[in-house]
């Protein structure tokens, strides 16, 4: 485990998380959430949890994001906060 890489990804995770809830466009939220999940998956792969990382990559970054996009497609992109 290279701690510099670990720290960088940890910071990116937090930034993606904050971005996902701050951005004023729901499609952007969905995409940033996908990025957040992917960073999380990298983090877990670094920590040796390969199975968890694999699941998160396919479930969190893959299917969840598609679900979000499908929902936004059928509702609206508008958000006030």
């Amino acid at each position: 485990m290279i701690w510099q890489l670990d720290l960088l990804i940890l910071i990116l995770v937090v930034l993606c998380g904050i971005g996902a809830i701050m951005i004023r466009d729901l499609l952007g939220t969905a995409i940033l959430f996908g990025a957040y999940s992917f960073m999380m998956c990298l983090l877990w792969a670094i920590m040796g949890a390969v199975d968890v990382a694999f699941t998160e990559a396919s479930v969190g970054a893959g299917v969840s994001t598609v679900f979000f996009v499908a929902t936004v497609y059928h509702t609206t992109r508008r958000t006030k906060d």
Partner: protein, 276 residues
């Protein structure tokens, strides 16, 4: 609301930070979590189940009950989305629009009407129609079989490498979802109908729970795959190995069916006609 939220958040954070000071240091091999229960899994997994990937053997064998209910949770979510969103099929289909591929003329077909010209020359148009991108369509056409092959590999090879029923099932499901994203929902529905995906998800869980019940019928405890010894070759340890494989296939089927099912209901708002 914002201030209240901030207050609660800070309170929770403070409580958690307070506890963190008493945690064992991060990554300590001597922490209680690494010494009490888990060493047995690592040391005996190979002898007892013949599965080198300890996560798989713990997931499906030692703590198999958790995984059975986890698959049930996924199944329940699929049924829930169906229950909430699915709109019953209308008796008389709504008017549809077709575009003639060669001339670009648009026809509006009223309920129940038919087109007399050969159907290959037309493509259905949707109210929220987006032009299809040729490159994406073709690339996905070639990509999808390989994705599915990889999904099957992940399910079958979960004993020796990262992966297993869940991951493989999600990948298989994602391949069909990709088909409906790159083409349209109708094309994907033609390949795999709604009833198929629903039955896939039901029978997947049924394989898991049925394996457990089979062990019960053979006189062992629920989910004790050793009971499958008389039915499978290779002795009691390999019976566990094969039992795990059987269950992983069930999980894969259930997860694949459910992911497709949920996606369709979300993407078409339960109408299964047009959508993402």
């Amino acid at each position: 609301m914002k201030n209240l939220g901030l207050l609660i958040v800070v309170l929770v954070g403070a409580v958690l930070i307070y506890a963190t000071t008493d945690f064992p240091p991060f990554g300590d091999p001597e922490s209680p979590a690494s010494l009490h229960v888990s060493p047995r899994y690592l040391e005996n997994s190979l002898e007892e189940t013949a599965v080198p990937n300890v996560v798989t053997s713990v997931l499906v064998d030692y703590r198999g009950l958790d995984t059975m209910f986890e698959t049930t949770v996924v199944f329940a979510a699929g049924v829930a989305c169906f229950l909430l969103l699915r709109v019953p099929r209308r008796r008389t289909p709504a008017p549809r629009q077709y575009r003639h591929r060669l001339t670009g003329l648009t026809f509006r077909i009223k309920d129940g009407g038919e087109i007399s010209l050969p159907l290959q020359e037309f493509e259905p148009m949707e109210s929220i129609w987006t032009p299809h991108d040729f490159i994406i369509e073709k690339v996905c056409c070639y990509l999808i079989p390989f994705i599915q092959l990889f999904g099957l590999f992940v399910i079958a090879h979960g004993h020796h490498s990262p992966g297993g029923g869940f991951q493989g099932g999600v990948i298989l499901g994602a391949s069909i979802i990709l088909l409906s994203l790159s083409h349209d929902l109708r094309t994907a529905l033609k390949r795999m109908g709604e009833k198929t995906s629903a039955l896939f998800s039901t029978f997947g869980v049924l394989i898991y729970a049925g394996t457990g019940a089979l062990c019960l019928l053979l006189g062992y405890n629920f989910l004790d795959y050793q009971a499958l010894d008389p039915l499978l070759p290779g002795g009691p340890v390999m019976a566990r190995y094969h039992g795990i494989l059987l269950v992983e296939v069930g999980v894969g089927m259930a997860v694949m069916g459910t992911m497709i099912w949920i996606f369709r209901n979300l993407a078409s708002r339960g109408r299964h006609e047009e959508g993402l």
